[in-house]
Each structure stands twice: as structure tokens, then as C-alpha cells.
């Protein structure tokens, strides 16, 4: 492997760079357009503005309600991530180490939920929320998403728990720790890497979720960013600079998280692929 390193032929490298630039080209254009004025834009999509119009972001944030959407996204993402992990840890502990009737059947039921897309049960979910009087609340968006993360969180964490060395847990048993203590003081600290990878995934999935808020919320005051973007587009079709500024607001936290945790993210994503 090492002998071949650095000897990739130039045409092949150029191909790769071509695709690389193709991938980020829309994002660069987005960033460029978000600091243009309307007249700048009229002069052409690839023309640079005389000076950056950061006021587009202000317009998006205030007039475009992106500020509201942003905070809504935060209000939704934080509880979804936190509760999914807490409940996921408990469930994973149960499935990894405890016995209870119907253990296998319940596990199958959980995995079904991982495969069935939300689209398949959004209709009953919508009516359930209406019946519970929860439509147009944060709960309408939060509760189903926690429930939906249960299968993945459980399977992900349970397999991480089962990979803990048996001897460590046995040592803790010999040390006289109660099982609550073992869970909190031995298992949990060792699970921090797995939990933070999970948190990263859940953050991205929840931030990006479209269908659930689309169907379960129609009050603008509860819309999350992707939804807000859609409805903003409906209201101001022509104000492209502000629209692109809004898009930047939606994706900036994702890009930030991605750049910071890239390794963790890709490692987590590819971990299961080889099996």
C-alpha cells in the first residue's frame, strides 16, 4: 500500500477534484448569493457583489421568521436527543443484560419500527395527535421523534454495551456494586463515545426532519427550520438572496457539527457497514 501511495495519476486526481468541486459548488453559490442584493443578482448568478449584503441574514432572521424557526429547531432537537439517549440507555441495558417476558418478540417489534418509514404511519399519527390535542405544540414534533429513535438508539447502545469486556462488569460485581451503580458508574462512563456518536446522529436527523413537522404542525410559531424554509419560499418566491441566507442559517449548524466531529461521524456511520 505504502509503495503505491502518492502515485495516483494526474487525470484520476483531476477527476476526483472535479467531483469534489461539483459537490460543493451549490453550497458556494448559496453562500455567494446570500450576501448579494437583488440588483446584484439581476446582473448574473456568478457576479460578485460590490460589497457583502449581510443584511439579508437580518431580513431572513426577523422578517423571514428564521429566528423563530431556528429556536424552534433547538427546542425540538435538544429534548429529542436528550430523552432518546436516556430512554435508549435504559432500554439497551434491558435488552443487553436483563430478562423479561417477550424479550425476543419485543426486539423484533422494535426493529420493525426502524424499517417502516414515518410516511407509512403518518396518517394515524396525525389523528392520534389531534385526538390528544397535541397538534401545533412542540410535543407533537418531539414525542414521535423520540419514539422513532428508540429502535436505533437501543440497538446501537445495546451492541456497544455487549462489546464491553465481560471481565470489567464481573470485576464490578465482585466489587459489590449494585446494578444501578454498575450502570451509572461503570457502564455509562464507558459508553460516552457511543453516546456522543449517537447524539451526533440524532441531532442531524432531528434537525433535518421534514415530514413530521410538515404534517403535525401548521402554526408558523412551531415550525422548525426545514419547514420554515419551505413556507418562506412560498411567501417570497422572488427574494432569492434572503431565501439563500435562510438556507445558510439552516445548514450552518450542520456543517459546523460535521467539520468538528467529522471523524466520529464517519467512523460511526461506517462501523456497521463491514458486518
Amino acid at each position: 500500500m505504502s509503495s503505491q501511495l502518492n502515485r495516483t495519476a494526474l487525470p484520476l486526481r483531476l477527476t476526483l477534484w472535479f467531483f469534489g468541486l461539483l459537490t460543493i459548488f451549490p453550497f458556494s453559490l448559496l453562500l455567494l448569493t446570500s450576501v448579494k442584493s437583488q440588483p446584484d443578482l439581476m446582473r448574473g448568478a456568478f457576479v460578485l457583489p460590490d460589497y457583502p449584503h449581510f443584511e439579508n441574514y437580518l431580513h431572513a432572521w426577523i422578517d423571514g421568521h428564521f429566528g423563530v424557526y431556528f429556536w424552534n429547531s433547538i427546542f425540538v432537537v435538544v429534548p429529542v436527543v436528550v430523552f432518546s439517549i436516556v430512554l435508549g440507555v435504559l432500554l439497551a441495558f434491558g435488552f443487553a443484560f436483563l430478562s423479561f417476558p417477550g424479550r425476543k418478540a419485543l426486539f423484533v417489534v422494535l426493529t420493525i419500527g426502524m424499517m417502516v418509514p414515518a410516511e407509512a404511519f403518518i396518517i394515524p399519527l396525525y389523528y392520534e395527535m389531534r385526538y390528544l390535542g397535541l397538534t401545533n405544540t412542540y410535543a407533537a414534533v418531539i414525542l414521535p421523534q423520540i419514539a422513532q429513535s428508540m429502535p436505533f438508539a437501543t440497538i446501537f447502545l445495546a451492541s456497544a454495551m455487549q462489546q464491553l469486556p465481560d471481565e470489567i462488569l464481573e470485576a464490578a460485581i465482585l466489587d459489590g456494586a449494585s446494578r444501578r451503580h454498575i450502570l451509572w458508574h461503570v457502564i455509562l462512563p464507558l459508553m460516552v463515545p457511543a453516546m456522543s456518536t449517537l447524539a451526533l446522529f440524532l441531532f442531524i436527523w432531528t434537525w433535518n426532519e421534514f415530514l413530521i413537522p410538515l404534517i403535525l404542525v401548521n402554526d408558523d410559531a412551531y415550525r422548525t427550520l426545514p419547514l420554515g424554509m419551505l413556507f418562506f419560499q412560498g411567501r417570497y418566491t422572488v427574494n432569492t438572496p434572503v431565501l439563500t441566507a435562510g438556507a445558510v442559517i439552516v445548514i450552518a449548524p450542520l456543517v459546523l457539527a460535521y467539520l468538528i466531529f467529522q471523524r466520529k461521524f464517519i467512523a460511526g456511520l461506517t462501523a456497521g457497514a463491514g458486518k
Binding site: 471481565e167 464481573e170 464490578a172 465482585l174 466489587d175 456494586a177 464507558l190 460516552v192
Partner: protein, 362 residues
Amino acid sequence: MSGLQLKDITKSFGTVNVIKGVDLDVKSGEFVVFVGPSGCGKSTLLRMIAGLEDITSGSLEIGGERMNDVDPSKRGIAMVFQSYALYPHMTVRENMGFALRFAGVPKPEIEKQVLDAARILELEPLLDRKPKALSGGQRQRVAIGRAIVRHPKVFLFDEPLSNLDAELRVHMRIELAKLHRKLGATVIYVTHDQVEAMTLADKIVVLRGGIVEQVGAPLDLYDNPANLFVAGFIGSPKMNFLKGVIAGTEAGKALVRLPDFGDVTVPVSVKATGLATGTPVTFGIRPEHFDEAGSASIAVVVDILEHLGGETLVYARAVSGNSDLVTISASHREAGKSGETLTARFSPDKALLFDAEGKRIY
């Protein structure tokens, strides 16, 4: 400190019996080694004593108290695991004090205990490190320290040296022996390495297939193995087993004919009487018991020589060519050449006889 009694202990997983009735008496302060090939049940037996495996039947007493159903942490034992099982997120200090936290020991007392143990094991400078920042030998010492602070009645070791390199293993073996002398603790130690067993044990328990084959002091097992298995397992290089036939008896001796070696007849001292002529036996002689002053001899052809420096191992066959390899340990280097015929002398007093079932004929 206190002793430990196993009475007819058995263990089965479903219909598979892995421990088939073990009786054992361990005295206070004794260093007992469970040894045997992999799968013999030695680790299972240790884990049953620890309480990590349920006991199917029989009774386990520690310090005279029945412990079968007592929680592992309340049996008065401490265990050192093969992988050390240190908590990677805790410092050495926290690792060592972890069990005491649950025993309700007050903080200053925990600190004192940990420091005491650290002093014994020379771990003081490492107390605030995490396991990741320690070498293999240091981790091993922390694992032992964690056991020491609990002042257990019995220490359990599960192949504790198998993750160390050869040099460190010898070093830690000596350390363990010293530590045992210093603490005077009761120790049960599992290993598959008969050298560890021989050097550390006051008493060796040889296990095979879930059964105790023999219990005894190391040299006792070496000199007086109860059967073929123990004879072959204890001692390195292995004892030679030659095909033999009883050719007759005379005053306290059995005359054994070795058909592969030109029907040489060797008189072996046995107490047993009534050995019928023609009974097939196994004739055992250790490589190191070949000796030029011996009164008996067999003729062999040298196959391969291994020069170890201090001694030379000669691997040879019967002149007829149809025997197994015989290993001869010679003290001088000019023990022969490959292909050369050699007369290997030995003293018949050192030879052992085993019957067709592998049991020793005393």
C-alpha cells in the same frame, strides 16, 4: 485468612456437565494452583468459587461458611482477571478504592488502604494515572492492588500472567511468590502453564475434563504422578511413554519387556503383586532421568539434536524404527550425531509403570 472447602461440586450447562464432582480442601494461607489443558474446567471452577457462575450441586465453604448462594461481593474473595479488567475511566487510585466504596468504608480509610496496597506494590507514583497510561506489568500490579485493598479471605487469579511477555512473566511470577509470602494469603490460581504451577504452588490441582486428576505438592506430582495424564502434563520436556509387557515378577519388582527395543527387559520396583505375565503396560521414564551410570539401557538411533546450551535434548527412535520419539536430556554437548546409534542408559528405579487404563501401578 481462612481456608476453603469444595464438596462434590458440579456444574452443568443444560445437559453438558463441565465440572463433574470436585472435592478439594484448601488450607488457610495455602497457594493452590489449578492447572490443566484448555477446556478442563479450571476457569469455570474458579468462577464458581467467585460466584460468577452458579454451582449446580455440591457445596462451597469459605472460612467454614457455606457460600453457594452468597453474592459474589460478599464471599470475602477478590479476583484478578486475565485482562486485568481495570475500569478505564478511573485512575489507579479510584480503581483500587472502588470496591471499598460499596462496602461503606469511610473515605479516609479507603485512602489509607489504597496507599498501603500501593506501597506494597510500588504503585505510589502511578496513583493518579489512568490504566491507559500504564505498562502491562503496571496494570497487572494495579489489578493485584485492587484485590489487596479488600483484605479478602481468598485471592483468586485467573491466568493473570498470560498477557505479559516472557520476560515480564518470569518477573511477575517471582513478585507473586514474594507477595504471597508477605501477605500469607490464601490463593487460588488458574493457569495452563505447568511451569507457573510448579514454581508458585504449595499445592497443585490437575484438572481434566471437569475431574480432578490429582492433588499434591509440585514435587509430589512430579515424582509420583497418579496416572499417565498427570505424568505427561507435569514436567518439561514431557515424560517418555514406551510400550511394555510384563515378563514376570520377582521380589518387589516387575520385569518389563520393551518389545520396540529388542525385547530388553527392565526390572521396575513396584509394590503391587499378582501382575500377570503378558499384561500390557506403559513404561514411563523422564528425559532427565537418562543417566550414564544407569544399570538399564535401550538402544536408539538419534533423529534430531537440540542444543539448549546447558543441556542437549536428543530425540531418538528405537533401532527397529517403530517406536515413538524418545526424548533424552543429556548434560554434555557431544551426545551423538543424527543417524548415530546410541545406548541410552537409565536407572530402573526412576521408571514408572501405568496400566492399560493409564493408572499408575505402584
